[in-house]
């Protein structure tokens, strides 16, 4: 493994330490070293906004901690949900007296740990509302949207939920807005190369040269099907097809576009994809309001990319524009 790590079992510890050192102006650790907290948190009278999830997706989740974004983030092992205790501690760190919304992704572990944390928080008298992201189109059919994984659309959910809370909205309003944000998102992932959990030492599965995994997740899981690797423009068109066919947006709808690398795909290739993605989205009569291209939500050193399209309305546009100050997004 040609990687910069120390002990394979300490990857998360070391990552979080180096992260907090780099961004000590924005974040701090809670007493629980698996909880990253915005230096601004808790904000009295503001609904707290938290998330949590497995590590290995950097800058997600911790990088989105900061002003007008997330107040606290529970940190799990690589690709593994944080403990109920860490979610609970994140809730406590974010609580400004008006309740806390937990905006997380649809994974069995997270579902269970958040449920338990919510019960623990109730005992502390903290009202917790939850929104479960399920933007990943390929992970289940349209009739089973509640089974779909949460992927890079979570970033839009955090951005809009965080902004809404900063505007002074109530817990229910923040929850409803974050829910609308993620309901308006569809995502797809394409994998060209797998990743290796350092403690395992070899990749989960292999991607044969000149093939690609369509509908890949964020955890080194294989995709839903293997296809021959095509030119970038064709890949981009396939990605748009999967996302937009499921989305079914009226012509004229304004959208935000997020093209994220999975960790080992260089930025220039993401721009190459974006060129065709933008053409394709506009060819369908949609208007691109804003585009994000970069390593926003990764999967260790996986080679590949994800596309997320969020349909916008006036409120979501306003919330997207609110300035933020976090390590991953400014």
């Amino acid at each position: 493994m040609q990687r910069f790590i120390n002990d394979p079992d300490q990857v998360v510890e070391d990552t979080v330490k180096g992260f907090v050192r780099a961004h000590a102006d924005i974040v701090r650790l809670a007493d629980n070293p698996r909880v990253v907290v915005a230096k601004t948190a808790p904000v009295a009278g503001k609904v707290g906004v938290i998330t949590g999830g497995g590590s290995g997706h950097e800058p997600a989740f911790i990088g989105y901690t900061g002003k007008n974004l997330l107040d606290a983030v529970a940190v799990g092992e690589l690709f593994s949900s944080p403990t109920a205790k860490s979610f609970h501690d994140a809730i406590k760190a974010a609580d400004g007296g008006r309740g806390v919304v937990c905006l997380y992704g649809n994974y069995a572990g997270d579902n269970m740990n958040v449920k338990m944390a919510t019960k623990l928080a109730a005992k502390d008298g903290i009202a917790v509302a939850t929104v479960v992201a399920n933007d990943d189109v390929c992970s289940a059919g349209p009739s089973e949207r509640d089974k779909r994984r949460g992927v890079a659309g979570e970033i839009f959910m955090w951005k809009c939920g965080g902004a809404k809370a900063s505007e002074g909205a109530s817990l229910e309003q923040v929850r409803a807005t974050a829910q609308r944000a993620i309901d308006n998102c569809r995502s797809v992932g394409i994998g060209l190369g797998p990743c290796t959990l350092p403690a395992v030492g070899h990749p989960n599965f292999s991607i044969e040269p000149d093939t690609m995994e369509v509908g890949i997740g964020h955890h080194g899981e294989p995709g839903v099907r293997v296809e021959p690797l095509k030119r970038a423009a064709e890949v981009a068109r396939d990605m748009c097809g999967i996302v937009l066919d499921d989305h079914d947006l009226a012509a004229g709808t304004e959208v935000a576009v997020l093209v994220s690398g999975l960790g080992a795909t260089p930025l220039n290739e993401l721009y190459i994809l974006n060129h065709t993605i933008a053409e394709e989205i506009e060819a369908r009569g949609l208007t691109i309001h804003r585009t994000y291209v970069g390593n926003y939500f990764t999967s260790l050193e996986m080679v590949g990319a994800t596309l997320t399209v969020m349909a916008l309305d006036d409120e979501l546009k306003r919330l997207l524009e609110l300035e933020v100050h976090s390590p991953a997004m400014r």
Partner: protein
């Protein structure tokens, strides 16, 4: 003998932890085929950590299971933290205050663990999860006891059913958890959780048998 002492049986959990740590790579490898490849790592971390805390303290089985359940619940996260965490916490709760563990208590313990798992995870038999090992194992044990077999004898069908249940997952399409997103592509490989569950049940059965034969 048709019962064994709770107070001196804590080491069963240590033996169980040894087996899990031994199978670390194997369990991750299975998980890697249709999951994210960390099941062995997660399990070995949790069980290894619990073993550290149990070792040399001559705990009762219920105390050792409580420690294990707590470690899994509060320090492991993932799906296994809560699922096995609640299972062992429920096991410990049923055994708490019991001096001698007889077949009825043992069965009640297993049922309570399964209930706990299903209360937070909602998996049914056939969903390709650890429930596919656990549920038939309990049924086999209950049936053997009902047929008049001894405690020690009844643990044999428990182990066999857990293994058969584990093997049954190979032909199943996953309905729950990470691998459920793969649909048909999830068929053809064992479920990682069912595999670890069979290991846990076998360690539990062998530990009980060792004490029953004394």
């Amino acid at each position: 003998m048709s019962q064994f002492l709770n107070s001196t049986a804590g080491d069963i959990v240590l033996a169980m932890a040894d087996k899990i740590v031994e199978n670390r790579s194997y369990l991750s490898e299975i998980d890697g085929k249709i999951g994210d490849g960390d099941h062995g790592v997660n399990m070995a971390k949790g069980f290894g950590m619990a073993a550290q805390r149990i070792k040399g303290r001559s705990l009762s089985l219920s105390e050792a299971m409580e420690t294990l359940g707590n470690v899994l619940m509060t320090e492991i996260g993932g799906s296994m933290g809560p699922l096995y965490g609640i299972m062992f916490s429920q096991f410990a709760e049923v055994l708490d205050g019991v001096e001698n563990i007889d077949p009825a208590t043992f069965s009640a313990m297993l049922h309570s663990g399964l209930d706990g798992i299903q209360s937070i995870g909602s998996a049914k038999v056939g969903d390709k999860t650890l429930v596919d090992a656990l549920s038939p194992a309990i049924d086999a044990f209950d049936a053997a006891i009902a047929d008049g077999e001894s405690f020690a004898q009844a643990l044999e069908p428990l182990v066999a059913a857990a293994e058969a249940g584990r093997d049954s997952t190979r032909d199943l399409v996953s309905k729950i958890g990470r691998s459920s997103r793969l649909g048909e592509r999830s068929r053809g490989v064992l479920d990682a959780g069912a595999t670890s569950c069979a290991i846990i049940l076998e360690a539990l059965a062998r530990g009980a048998q060792g004490r029953l034969q004394n």
